[in-house]
């Protein structure tokens, strides 16, 4: 059967067909849909782990136990999981073990543009790169086989345009491989120095065998065309190269990209007049080719920064001009993302925005948008977890400099479970009087609404215990009198908590509790509710615009509220000094 699928759907399908039985991940664009799709196969146990390190360790344990196992994450997730990655590179596998890394050239939704191909080289594990959805499916199956044959974990590297592009896939059947027998083998699975020293030697030998394989596998293939130009490429860059050069060039299309095939590259290079390396971001292939002593053209013409596309290649390598097109003289307003109407994060940011001397170390999630006007609260965003831990460093530096700012560290619920807890422990342990603000909207919203340990549901949809955030906060040693749990739709209560926090001299925690406005149950419950402006009372002071709700606009010299967008959170109503905003619709609680 033929089906049009995204790369992520095809990877899930491939894992299914390969007989994968355990999969664990933490969401992250553009990788999230891999586990969401895997979860639909009954034959595979699939879970959201609290973070990527846990996910990789779950999959590693499953592999050692004998299961074909998979973990998937966005590129920065692999930084979090780097520790188990490097040691599992030594331990090898029992059941095949594949980690999918989804990189994001162009940073459509990421904080950096790291090229995770370098991780394969660094950790010394095999790497595979597909270039469309069919290859996503086929190569995942091969990845499991290679993993078992060479006793290595396999890094499966995709990018946004592979993950989120659709193309046609020929489906196959599931191959039942079962869960292999587990035999205790401490020399393999207990990485004490004595064992690791032996393993390192084995890893180097494994690399030699893998390189031989790389030279002969059909994953790396030559497509002969005109030999005046030779192109070495991999991943989606192969598609762009084909689009531009068609049959007017020859291609060495690489699907197995660590170790790179030295002999095949030499053979190919010797038969073409001019050699181009077409790859996105880092000169990964290029550096290898140059180290072989082969002349080639790569990053001197093709940019390192940003996403590649056929037009960049046309301009860089063929000197083609831009195509004729249209332009209109209209000043087009930007459309950056904003907190939704009725977003539960709005109230606390509004309350904090009133204190001009607060420093807010933020974090990653919908609430990153607390940095945007008109709220303008957030000062820093680094990585998941840093919302709390960077606050501590900020506080300590401010103390040493005798500055008086109050430091608020802001994290979401999913981020708190991911890596905020250790920061909070640090704050208590090292007595840092920061305020940790935990925005509990009962979902991992930013990545498209995934369950997490606080939502009471698993990835498979089963009911599970709700991990109590306040209980964790208390267990970390924050005193009961320094904890506030507030409803962020109630501004007075929220403002009071911010004021108490501002004046606190010990580690303090505010937990805001209100589910994301886009959750189905919330949409249903609040469907009939909205607010409107009483034009007689409205003095056009525009204070309501300061909450930054997309439903509130200043149009034709009037404040208007879009009733279809409004969810009746009443935050704007509460800030209006003239009681000019009124509730309309059905309010039954």
């Amino acid at each position: 059967m033929r089906k049009i699928m995204t790369g992520n759907e095809a990877i899930a399908r491939g894992a299914y067909e390969a007989g994968c039985t355990v999969a664990a991940a933490y969401p992250g664009t553009p990788s999230t849909e891999i586990l969401e799709n895997i979860a639909q196969y009954e034959e595979i146990y699939a879970e959201w782990a609290p973070n990527e390190k846990v996910a990789v360790e779950v999959a590693a344990g499953a592999s050692i136990a004998g299961a074909r196992s998979l973990s998937a994450m966005k590129h920065v997730g692999l930084n979090v999981a780097a520790d188990p990655l490097f040691t599992m590179a030594y331990e090898g596998v029992n059941g095949g073990f594949v980690i999918v890394t989804a990189d994001d050239p162009g940073m459509h939704s990421s904080q950096n543009e790291q090229d995770n191909r370098l991780y394969a080289q660094h950790a010394k594990v095999a790497m595979i790169e597909p270039s469309d959805s069919q290859e996503c499916k086929d190569f995942i199956k091969l990845a499991f086989e290679i993993s078992e044959k060479f006793d290595t974990l396999v890094l499966f590297r995709i990018t946004t345009r592979i993950a989120h592009s659709k193309s046609i896939v020929e489906l196959g059947e599931r191959q039942e491989v079962g869960v292999k027998e587990y035999k205790k083998d401490v020399k393999k699975y207990v990485m004490i120095p004595a064992h690791a020293r032996v393993k390192h030697v084995e890893v180097e030998e494994r690399l030699k065998r893998l390189q031989e394989y790389s030279n002969t596998t059909p994953l790396n293939r030559i497509e002969w065309g005109d030999t005046k130009i030779g192109i070495i490429t991999s991943g989606v860059s192969y598609q762009y190269a084909k689009e531009v050069f068609g049959d007017n060039a020859s291609y060495l299309k690489l699907g197995f990209t660590f170790p790179l095939p030295d002999k095949l590259i030499k053979e190919f290079a010797s038969k073409v007049d001019k050699l181009y390396i077409i790859e996105e971001n880092e000169p990964y292939i290029e550096t290898f080719v140059k180290a072989l002593g082969i002349n080639c053209i790569g990053k001197e013409l093709i940019p390192i920064c940003g996403e590649l596309n056929p037009d960049i290649i046309r301009r860089a390598l063929l000197g083609e001009k831009e195509r004729e097109t249209y332009s209109v003289e209209v000043k087009v307003p930007n459309r950056p993302p904003v907190l939704c109407p009725g977003c539960p994060h709005r109230g606390i940011f509004y309350a904090m925005s009133k204190y001009k001397d607060i420093i807010a170390t933020g974090d990653i999630g919908c609430y990153t948008l607390g940095m945007m006007p008109p709220l303008n609260v957030t000062d820093t965003v680094i990585d998941m977890g840093a919302g709390i831990s960077a606050a501590i460093g900020f506080e300590k530096a401010a103390m040493m400099a005798k500055r008086k700012n109050k430091i608020f560290g802001i994290v979401g619920d999913s981020t708190f479970f991911h890596s905020g807890i250790t920061g909070l422990i640090d704050a208590v342990y090292n007595n840092s009087p920061i305020v940790a603000v935990i925005l509990d909207n009962s979902i991992t919203a930013m990545t498209g609404h995934q369950e997490n340990p606080g939502t009471g549901k698993t990835l498979k949809g089963d009911i599970s215990p709700v991990i109590d955030i306040k209980g964790i906060v208390k267990a970390c040693g924050v005193k009961e009198e320094n904890i506030r749990v507030v409803d962020p739709y109630k501004l007075d209560e929220t403002e009071k908590a911010v004021k108490d926090a501002y004046n606190a001299t010990e580690p303090f925690v505010i937990i805001t509790k209100q589910p994301c406005a886009l959750l189905k149950d919330v949409l249903k419950k609040r469907a009939g509710r909205y607010v409107k402006v009483n034009e007689e009372k409205c003095k056009k002071c525009k204070v309501c615009l300061k909450v930054g709700c997309p439903a509130v606009a200043f149009k034709n010299s009037n404040i208007v509220i879009d009733k279809d967008m409004c969810n009746g959170c009443t935050v704007c109503l509460q800030v209006c000094p003239f009681n000019a905003i009124e509730k309309v619709g059905e309010w039954n609680d």
Partner: protein, 190 residues
């Protein structure tokens, strides 16, 4: 010959579904198809683009500036934002509908009121209608994405294929009648 088309608009307008129906249909009718989506983030109101390319054999899923045979803009200023991707002589289908971005809502930027006129001055083939009104007349404003899809199918010259069956295969039964009428109505508009 590979054809390229671009759907542009704002999250929540039904672009993803319209492009899904289109690609499912194109596959069914034997084309090679590539499609690429950037759906921004989870929040409401961000811009959404979907690129679709189809033909005998398609390599790149991406469309360059001046390369799209048809652009369907679900929102007016999005048409202006993306018009540079339109090929000379290509068709621009514009929904006469506005959604204010945040900067406009708070009065920092202005929403240009003459977008359609400006587009018409430069682009030879512009098709404008209010898909929401059309859909509302058909019985449900939510079908506006299918009205726009119908106009696109006509602009591409593939209206003779069996789109009715594609709808039937990809949507729940209770949505068939409305969406089939919406596609047909859209075809009459371009």
């Amino acid at each position: 010959m590979t054809k390229s088309l671009l759907f542009v608009g704002v999250g929540g307008q039904g672009i993803i579904l319209a492009s899904k129906i289109l690609t499912e249909g194109l596959v069914k009718f034997g084309f090679d198809v590539k499609m690429s989506e950037v759906h921004g983030m989870a929040q409401r109101g961000g811009s959404v683009t979907t690129q679709v390319r189809f033909g005998e054999k398609v390599y790149s899923p991406l469309i360059g500036e001046g390369e799209a045979d048809v652009i369907v803009a679900f929102e007016k200023v999005e048409a202006a934002r993306w018009v540079k991707y339109l090929k000379k002589g290509g068709t621009l289908v514009v929904n006469d509908y506005e959604i204010y971005p945040q900067s406009v809502l708070v009065g920092q930027e202005v929403y240009p009121d003459d977008v359609i006129q400006k587009l018409k001055e430069k682009v030879e083939n512009v098709v404008v209608f209010n898909a929401a009104e059309v859909a509302e007349k058909l019985g449900n404003i939510k079908a506006q994405n299918m009205v726009l899809l119908g106009a696109l199918i006509k602009a591409l010259g593939i209206e003779n294929l069996d789109w009715e069956s594609v709808i039937k295969e990809n949507l729940p039964e209770k949505m068939h009648e409305l969406n089939i009428r919406a596609i047909k109505e859209g075809m009459k508009l371009s």
